[in-house]
């Protein structure tokens, strides 16, 4: 039973991080129907920025919580800036292009960003020191949940609440929902669609950066290639939950995280990455629009 709970907590932790990245995918998809393959790279750049800033601050003699907060803030700002720039360069000129063209542009951007970090930094794995504080009150449950896991799950939960409020109750959120529903109509009623798209990229990238800092602290090492698999997994999670749906992305990510965790725990760790995809195929066969996706009626 303890083993089960341990795996469950592990799955939730993993799922929380997938959720942070999946949100960026699902929001962008909801608005411009693009699979943003460069999103995984934004997450990787977030992790790298945090590592660099944290190391510099540590060498300047700072320590503890201030390093964590400063490094996270800088990482979030930079990831958001990268997301914004990538959209302006690679996707905005292609708004009116055939559907597959932005996808190829995204793949090109992803190759570019990977090699940019590879050349400017290093191809080797860098050790990432754990910045997250040790929570004393969790000591009695140490066998079950570590403070890193707790912080990851709690942070994700808080961010979800903030994001929901942002989308449900603010003017910007309303504009985003309107654009997702019908871009032309939104333009007609005076929504600045270009700004809404930029905002979506900025928010999605910022969330990915938070995920980057958290997972880098959890796993303890990063390199230029970490964005790729994380990106594919997160996208799988977004599709699993029903792409375009924000609660769907979170649910999909948690289900995916738990499946991987139980799969590796009870079956075999060799096939860790395969479980995600098997689950995806099974769920989509049963429910082709994802867990929380709307079934769109086809009109003739």
């Amino acid at each position: 039973m303890n083993y089960f709970l341990e795996l469950f907590v592990g799955g939730l932790t993993r799922g929380s991080i997938y959720a942070l990245i999946a949100l960026g995918y699902t929001m962008v998809y909801g608005i411009i129907e693009l699979i943003n393959f460069a999103h995984g790279e934004i997450y990787m750049i977030g992790a790298f920025t945090a590592l660099i800033i944290a190391s510099v601050l540590a060498m300047w003699g700072m320590s503890g919580l201030s390093v964590l907060i400063l490094a996270s803030v800088v990482a979030v700002i930079y990831s958001a800036a990268y997301g914004f720039t990538v959209e302006k360069i690679a996707y905005k000129p292609l708004r009116q292009a055939p559907r597959l063209s932005p996808l190829i542009s995204a793949i090109g951007m992803s190759i570019f960003l990977q090699n940019y970090v590879l050349l400017a930094q290093t191809s080797e794995f860098l050790p990432f020191s754990n910045l997250l504080p040790d929570l004393q009150f969790l000591t009695p449950y140490a066998g079950l949940i570590g403070s890193t896991e707790f912080i990851i799950i709690a942070t994700t939960a808080v961010i979800m609440v903030i994001l929901t409020v942002l989308i449900k109750f603010t003017k910007m959120g309303k504009a985003m929902r309107a654009t997702a529903q019908d871009r032309d109509m939104a333009m007609l009623v005076g929504v600045n669609v270009n700004r809404v798209i930029s905002n979506t990229f900025i928010i999605g990238s910022a969330l990915a950066a938070v995920g980057g800092v958290l997972i880098a602290s959890h796993i303890g090492r990063i390199n230029f290639y970490i964005g790729f698999l994380a990106g594919i997994k997160a996208f799988t999670a977004a599709v699993l939950g029903g792409i375009g749906s924000i609660p769907g992305a979170v649910l999909g990510a948690l289900v995916l995280g738990c499946t991987e965790s139980f799969g590796t725990g009870y079956i075999s760790s060799d096939y860790e990455d395969a479980f995600a995809f098997v689950l995806l195929i099974v769920i989509l066969i049963v429910k082709p629009s994802g867990l929380l996706g709307h079934k769109t009626a086809q009109k003739v």
Partner: protein, 410 residues
């Protein structure tokens, strides 16, 4: 007037270059050595980025301004004019000499270039066939397939395993590899028939990844990450060929396969199946209303597409004499898809050019050594921005309607 415009342009470029200096600051300027505890500040990089983006922003504005005005012009003309290559191909007077020149160059190529270059050209030709195969699924049927590499792997592993266990030769393995890929294609298509658009894309992606992971981990079956080596190259009527001769032989084999593929794909476009595929892409419901069996057409598309991947897979195994799962990653699928889209979805000439460009480009970019893949990524983005419809636009069949001629008395 002109002066203010000039100043405006400079200010804009200064803003752009400042933005990029800010953007690249942590990654380009700082390098930390966490073990030795040294921070390296590389301020010169920042100057390069600033100057580079300043110059490039001018070029960007000039080119994108030109692109817009050109598009406006072509829109004014009403009908898009046929691209040059398409015109050459469609007129007999020009197409015959063009084909003759290409044929002569292709026939002489291995004798005037080194083994290394022949080798690369063979690879490029393999991608031509892969691109044309994927085009049946993506371009004609409109089913986005991101796991095409799985069928390629199926062909390669069929030959490798059959040789390893039973000593089956190349020519017997060729149809068997194609068959294995076709069966795999149908197996994938069956469960995903209900899915549409990007759901289909991600499932095929997952399928490709599962195939690779299984090949990597199922040691008893596929010998894991180390793969299978010592696969023989094809012999010519039982003769063993030397390294160089075998490469030339494979080159001509690929030329032959390319010609067959082009012929089949070309015929397919106007066939009953080809038109059913087009109809399916345009509108599923209307297509069903016309009495086309949706399920069967989709299965046919997947099966036809994967057959080519299987054939090329067998040749790949014979060419490298070695297969392992690392050759069949998602990047490979993305590359083949890029060939189709970059060349021009639906256009045979476009895909041939796309394959040659995308496969030969990284080879000729080798002079830039480390910066090779960086430039490759940039070129992909830039080509898409300036030619979003691909190098050669696929010409869609149109029927012209002349009001005068069709006027009839009732």
């Amino acid at each position: 007037m002109n002066n203010t415009k000039y100043i405006e342009g400079v200010t804009q470029s200064v803003v752009v270059s400042l933005w990029f200096m800010f953007l690249t600051f942590p990654i380009m300027v700082i390098r930390v050595d966490t073990i030795e505890k040294i921070i390296e500040w590389r301020w010169t990089n920042m100057i390069y980025v600033g100057l580079g983006s300043f110059v490039l922003s001018f070029a960007w504005r000039y080119l994108s301004g030109k692109g817009v005005s050109e598009r406006m012009k072509s829109a004014d003309n009403g009908r898009e004019r046929m691209p040059l290559l398409q015109r050459i191909a469609s007129e007999k007077r020009t197409s015959v000499p063009a084909i003759a020149i290409v044929a002569i160059v292709a026939a002489l190529f291995p004798f005037i270039s080194s083994t290394y270059q022949t080798n690369i050209m063979t690879t490029a030709l393999m991608y031509v066939v892969l691109g044309l195969g994927l085009n049946i699924v993506v371009g004609q049927a409109g089913l986005l397939n991101l796991g095409y590499v799985a069928f390629y792997a199926a062909g390669a592993y069929t030959y490798a395993l059959l040789y390893h266990h039973f000593g089956v030769g190349f020519w017997l393995a060729l149809p068997l590899g194609a068959l294995a890929a076709t069966i795999l294609g149908i197996l994938l298509a069956l469960p995903v028939l209900r899915l549409q658009g990007d759901y289909l894309a991600i499932v095929t992606l997952g399928f490709g990844e599962i195939t690779r992971i299984v090949l990597e981990n199922w040691n008893e079956f596929s010998f894991g990450p180390s793969g299978i080596s010592g696969i023989p190259r094809p012999g010519l009527f039982g003769m063993e060929l030397g390294m160089h001769d075998a490469q030339v032989y494979l080159y001509f084999l690929m030329i032959g396969l390319c010609i067959i593929t082009i012929f089949v794909v070309n015929r397919l476009q106007d066939s009953r199946i080809g038109r059913a595929l087009l109809a399916l892409r345009e509108d599923e419901i209307a297509c069903q209303a016309m009495g086309i069996d949706k399920t069967r057409v989709k299965l046919t598309a997947f099966a036809l597409g994967s057959t080519w991947a299987g054939l090329v897979g067998v040749i790949f195994a014979a060419k490298t004499t070695f297969v392992n799962p690392a050759s069949f990653t998602f990047l490979e699928s993305a590359m083949i898809l890029s060939i189709v889209v970059l060349g021009g979805t639906g256009s045979i000439i476009g895909i041939i050019i796309g394959a040659l460009v995308l496969i030969l480009l990284p080879e000729y970019l080798r002079i830039f050594s480390d910066y090779r893949m960086l430039l490759f990524g940039i070129i992909m983005v830039i080509m898409m921005i300036f030619r979003p419809q691909g190098i050669v636009t696929g010409v869609r069949k149109t029927y012209e309607f002349h009001a005068e001629e069709n006027k009839r008395d009732f």
